[in-house]
Symmetry: C2
């Protein structure tokens, strides 16, 4: 089968060997004769899957034995906009407004306390990451978004918040690059980019930041309860956790985050140099802030759109359309996308320039 | 392959043809060359899946064009304990306390307003459904649990609440029997029994009961917002919704709820008559309140436990252990379980009686 080159922004491509194992497990999980979909989440087999997924997540982030716990929850990253505020916002929190998802996080938090927007690039349609802002005293936490999926910007450095907890939405670039993950006190990420199918959300939290707000937290919002219950307070999203485990195992077999970062860097350099070189296209974002995961670009001459669309579609590329807030194109190049797919895209762009 | 007879309480057996289609779609969804796990939730193909699942749910409940909307959400039924209260509890709500899940729903609701427990069978370890209780005036809603998965009791009739909205947790018996679903104003059910894999939750809500509380509802808790966004405010649990759609289609092909009810009735009559007949076993619950989905029973002589366990395990039965709150055994016989599996169980019980 000739699989399309899948540049979809999320849900997105996962490794083919993960699809194959997952497909098999839907019929017969590990030779049990039962589907992964029909086993009890309290069965030894699944408890092992959950524990493996949780420990691999910490391992890839280099956060084992540093006071962090990994949880798999439901509700997507959007639920974390709410849960982080529920658990941590007593009076006042600082937010960096770097895109639609940051803005949504801000909106949810405003119901729980005062929100200080420390910096925003909204005025320029979020095409860069603000850098010079000051961090006031007395924040309960500072929240940022490491990679802005829609706009294609990525934070290359993070604010030094000292004692103030630093929270980061890493939905679209977790496990993609080596950074010091211990600078964060809480990291969350919807599975559906670099980790697994939609329906699971990874939360990695430093335990000592919890238990400090005065409000009563409902069970389903309570990180401490989920930690106590080993991420199984209620029925977890079994299949999404299982496939996440498979993807994290794949990452281990392929050299972990440091090896995948090299590949991601090569892929992004390839596409950005073509965007810059090619006379028909231009990048959407400030060059310093370009994302390794999502490259956004537009046609200088919009009237060429139908022609280019026809060309890339006929080349078996999928998911290249930009988000409506930006227009143009977005090539999402998550961990599982091969450099060959990016080469095909670059060839299409070159070919387009020659023949137009 | 000789599949085990799967009596697991949830996640639980789904139709084999659903496993087969789901397995195929993990490799290649509908001939697209893409996995169901890697397609955008905004793609036409997935929007169609979501719409089909939503409309089949209403159809099987006979609730089309009656002011109801079907939503697929995340978080499990436990999240609905919270969301129902968030959206509907202004001052005071009535709850029937018929088991652990009812009790958990009560606990979550108490954070939002006054909770009147109208009746409870807790004192007798929830082995019956309370029937004579009065319903006070001025309730925002009445909440009940149609089937108590752990204890094996099931409501055969529901309170007439007049204008007061009636909310029902149907996690473990939705789509299993023909009742007048229009007596309810809100029904919810975790997918992982009669509908699909863990990770999706069905909510069917009569729109006119919404929008009446004075509190501000966070986006991720807000039924009205999810209705407005056609159940895609954020990334839905794509695969769980897809498999739910497959199961609902399977149900249509097999005669719908009325046909499946006949089969469920036959299965439950078979097991309960053996429990009653067999001198070694006794049922846990009041006979009038016996669940068609979960039959709970115990050995009169507990010391026979290891022998019986060995016997049923060697007969390729799975998931027969009772919940720790009840002990003994629980045969969960959801829609997808064949009567042949129940026959095997009954044979094992008969054989045990003869040989002991
Ligand atoms: C950076 C980021 N944060 C949050 C979200 C929202 O995630 P979800 O749809 O899982 O709620 C997305 C979705 O694409 C995202 O890219
Ligand atoms: C009747 C009932 N309600 C609620 C729940 C809790 O569901 P979840 O684990 O999806 O939160 C269950 C779980 O088995 C149940 O059987
Ligand atoms: Mg710090
Ligand atoms: Mg250019
Ligand atoms: Mg009514
Ligand atoms: Mg008996």
């Amino acid at each position: 089968m000739n699989r399309p080159h899948n540049f979809s922004a999320g849900p997105c491509i996962l490794p083919l060997e993960v699809f194959e194992k997952a497909s098999q497990a839907v019929i017969d999980f590990d030779g049990s004769g039962l589907s992964i979909l029909e086993i009890s989440h309290r069965s030894t087999a699944f408890v092992e899957v959950m524990e493996k997924a949780r420990s691999l997540a910490l391992e890839h982030l280099n956060l084992q034995a540093k006071g962090y716990k990994a949880l798999f929850m439901q509700g997507g990253a959007s639920m974390q906009f709410l849960m982080t505020a529920y658990n941590l916002l007593e009076k006042k929190a600082g937010y960096l407004d770097t895109g639609t998802w940051s803005a949504n996080a801000i909106k949810e938090a405003e119901r729980f306390g005062e929100v200080k927007v420390l910096a925003s690039s909204k005025e320029s349609n979020y095409n860069f990451i603000p850098k010079n802002y000051s961090i006031p005293n007395g924040l309960d936490y500072l929240h940022c978004t490491s990679n802005n999926t829609i706009y294609g910007t990525q934070m290359k450095a993070f604010p030094n918040t000292g004692e103030t907890p630093l929270i980061c939405d890493m939905s679209s670039d977790i496990f993609s690059r080596e950074i010091d993950y211990s600078q964060f006190d809480l990291i969350y990420a919807g599975a559906q980019k670099n980790m697994g199918p939609a329906g699971a959300t990874l939360v990695v939290v430093k335990e000592d930041i919890l238990g400090k707000v005065s409000r009563k937290i409902p069970s389903m919002m309570d990180y401490e309860l989920f930690i106590k219950k080993e991420s199984m307070f209620n029925t977890p999203p079994v299949f999404s956790v299982y496939v996440s485990m498979l993807t994290l195992e794949w990452l281990s077999r392929h050299g972990g985050v440091s090896a995948i970062e090299k590949k991601n860097r090569a892929k992004s350099e390839l596409i950005y140099s073509e965007i810059d070189r090619n006379s028909l296209f231009e990048g959407f974002t400030a060059k310093d802030d370009r994302s390794m995961m999502n490259a956004t670009f537009t046609l200088k001459n919009e009237r060429l759109t139908p022609l280019f669309d026809k060309l890339w579609q006929s080349a078996n590329l999928n998911g290249l359309n930009g988000h409506r807030s930006v227009g143009g194109y977005r090539a999402s190049m998550y961990n599982a996308l091969s450099i060959e797919s990016v080469e095909v895209l670059v060839d299409v762009m070159k070919h387009f320039e020659k023949t137009i």
